[in-house]
């Protein structure tokens, strides 16, 4: 019991530390990727290749004036970034960062906790996260902050619908809400993305919107709202907001990797596992195999983080009506269609084949029949 507790505590602390470290170096990666895409070389003054740049940025933020406006609600003003940061960190609890490790003869999950409603936990916490932004924007007592906060709230609500419905398809396929069993259901290369290409695209888009990242960074659109919900913030409170955004990005990359790209599964894992157990013994081999799985998961996470940044430095921001149109008029219906196709495919017994057939029929109807229908309405005018 004691060893389990200690190992679990170490895992939890490690996940916490890794989330922070990832967020720290995401800021660096963001700047370097932005620079590379813009044909520059990026930050390189602090340390070798500028690797100490995040520390320098953090130090700078700590030494700036911690300003609270006179008319602001002081306690809510402090509570805002605190909620944003803590909710961002909380959601990593249910993500399986690896299979199991064997310590002192006991199998322990490499995961904060394996609750049977894991994916609901993530959704709940992510929805709570918008409170951080909302409270911060409200407490600032500034119309631009409030606009940013309201935008963040309505955007999160709108995109959570499409996200939830595309997720339902995954739950239909797996029959479980636990993230661990969803990941275990994608053994080897049997990843959900091959069953759910449309669902993956929807989920990816919604993740971008949930993280308030370009092209959905309306809450902080600097050309309209000064800086959005964190206009009045300075020093480390501002730092916490920015930081929580990067933690959120890491978490949603991890969720995407777990739900669609098979988490810690990789092709040929059974062969590697048997080889490792054969040469290192039951315990060590198992642990090394788990470590390999964790590395695989992190590679997938890095890919998604890069994709997020790549998208950010490519696409311009949506207009607000376009954002809402996309969420309610396009992604929601498409997500529902995807859900129906998945349900039918699950019933058919050959989900992979019938998913693709269903999607092909949907595409044929959409791209084939819809233009004819549209032309008729135009000529009727």
């Amino acid at each position: 019991m004691d060893t389990v507790l200690i190992v679990k505590a170490i895992i939890v602390v490690a996940i916490f530390a890794i989330s922070m470290l990832m967020a720290l170096y995401e800021t660096y990666a963001e700047r370097v990727i932005a620079a590379f895409i813009q044909d520059r070389v990026g930050p390189d003054r602090a340390g070798p290749f500028g690797l100490l740049q995040p520390l320098a940025d953090g130090g700078k933020l700590f030494f700036k004036e911690d300003f609270i406006p006179t008319k602001a609600d002081k306690w809510l003003f402090i509570l805002g970034p605190a909620i944003a940061m803590s909710t961002a960190l909380l959601s990593s609890a249910v993500i399986p960062f690896g299979d199991t490790i064997i310590v002192a003869g006991q199998k322990i999950d490499v995961q904060g906790m394996d609750v049977n409603i894991g994916i609901l936990w993530i959704f709940g916490i992510v929805s709570l996260g918008v409170y951080g932004i909302l409270i911060g924007g409200w407490a600032s007592n500034n119309k631009y902050s409030l606009y940013g906060a309201i935008r963040a709230a309505s955007q999160t609500i709108s995109y959570e619908l499409a996200m939830g419905i595309s997720l339902l398809a995954i739950i239909l396929m797996t029959g479980s809400l636990s993230v661990k069993s969803i990941v275990l259901g994608q053994h080897g290369i049997d990843w959900n993305i091959f069953y759910q290409p449309l669902g993956f695209l929807l989920f990816l888009t919604c993740s971008l919107a949930e993280c308030n990242r370009t092209p959905f960074d309306l809450p902080e659109s600097e050309n309209e709202l000064v800086a959005g919900y964190h206009t009045e913030y300075g020093s480390m409170k501002m730092g916490l907001y920015l930081f929580s955004e990067y933690v959120n990005m890491f978490i949603s990359s991890a969720v995407l990797a777990s739900l669609y790209l098979g988490g810690f599964n990789y092709p040929g894992m059974d062969f590697v596992y048997s080889k490792l157990v054969g040469s290192f013994g039951e315990v060590t081999g198992h642990n090394i195999a788990t470590a390999l799985g964790t590395i695989t998961l992190f590679l997938k996470i890095f890919f998604f983080i890069f994709l997020f940044m790549w998208i950010r430095w490519t696409l311009p921001r949506f207009r607000y009506d376009q954002l809402m149109n996309l969420a309610w008029k396009w992604m929601m219906p498409v997500a529902i269609v995807n859900l129906i196709i998945t349900a039918a495919a699950e019933l058919s017994g050959k989900p992979l084949l019938y998913n693709w057939i269903g999607l092909a029929i949907f595409a044929a109807i959409y791209f084939g029949l819809f233009p004819i229908f549209k032309k008729k309405t135009v000529s009727a005018n």
């Binding site: 590379f36 895409i37 044909d39 520059r40 070389v41 998208i311 430095w313 490519t314 791209f367 233009p371």
Partner: protein, 183 residues
């Protein structure tokens, strides 16, 4: 009327059903950015890496020596006269016996000072010099100074070091013109 045919025609026609999904546009844009991600960077890590500024860049002053290591300057004062900023001043002295190894002509500059606060790096001293003695280096900047007593450069900072001779592709205006044509 169009001056060039480089301008792109604006397409105001309605988006087709495929274009309306945003995907073709997004993939095209992502392709452009990833191409730039791997392309050669336009900027460099400046103080560590420096660009070649060409043989005609006008930087730090230098008083050349000849092949035997003798100073070429004879303190004729033409550079000081040519200087529009009046940055150059010198004191002439006569060469005595035994100093033939040091100075090429009978007269030399006992002191030669350039005031770097006044100098505008126009290069007229270089053009005025009849003895090919004073040049503005193309490979070295005048460093930043923080106090006024670092501003006046004497012979100790200006005369060429024989172990680290200053070389460039073209010494005279004519050579430079030829170099230019060759490029």
């Amino acid at each position: 009327m169009t001056l060039t045919n480089r301008s792109k025609k604006t397409d105001n026609s309605e988006l087709s059903i495929v274009e309306n999904t945003y995907f073709p546009g997004i993939f095209k844009g992502m392709g452009v950015t990833i191409k730039h991600f791997f392309s050669k960077k336009a900027t460099i890590r400046y103080p560590e890496q420096k660009r070649y500024l060409g043989p005609v860049f006008r930087g730090h002053h230098i008083l050349k020596r000849d092949e035997q290591g003798r100073e070429r300057c004879t303190a004729c004062g033409l550079c000081a006269v040519a200087c529009p900023a009046e940055a150059i001043s010198m004191v002439a002295a006569e060469r005595v016996k035994g100093e033939e190894k040091l100075y090429r002509e009978e007269k030399y500059a006992a002191s030669y000072e350039v005031n770097m606060l006044r100098c505008i790096f126009c290069g007229l001293c270089e053009e005025a010099c009849p003895k090919e003695a004073v040049y503005l280096r193309h490979d070295k900047f005048v460093p930043v100074f923080t106090s006024r007593d670092q501003v006046i450069y004497g012979k100790d900072q200006l005369v060429e070091d024989m172990s680290d001779r200053y070389l460039r592709d073209a010494w005279t205006k004519e050579d430079m013109a030829k170099l230019w044509i060759k490029q």
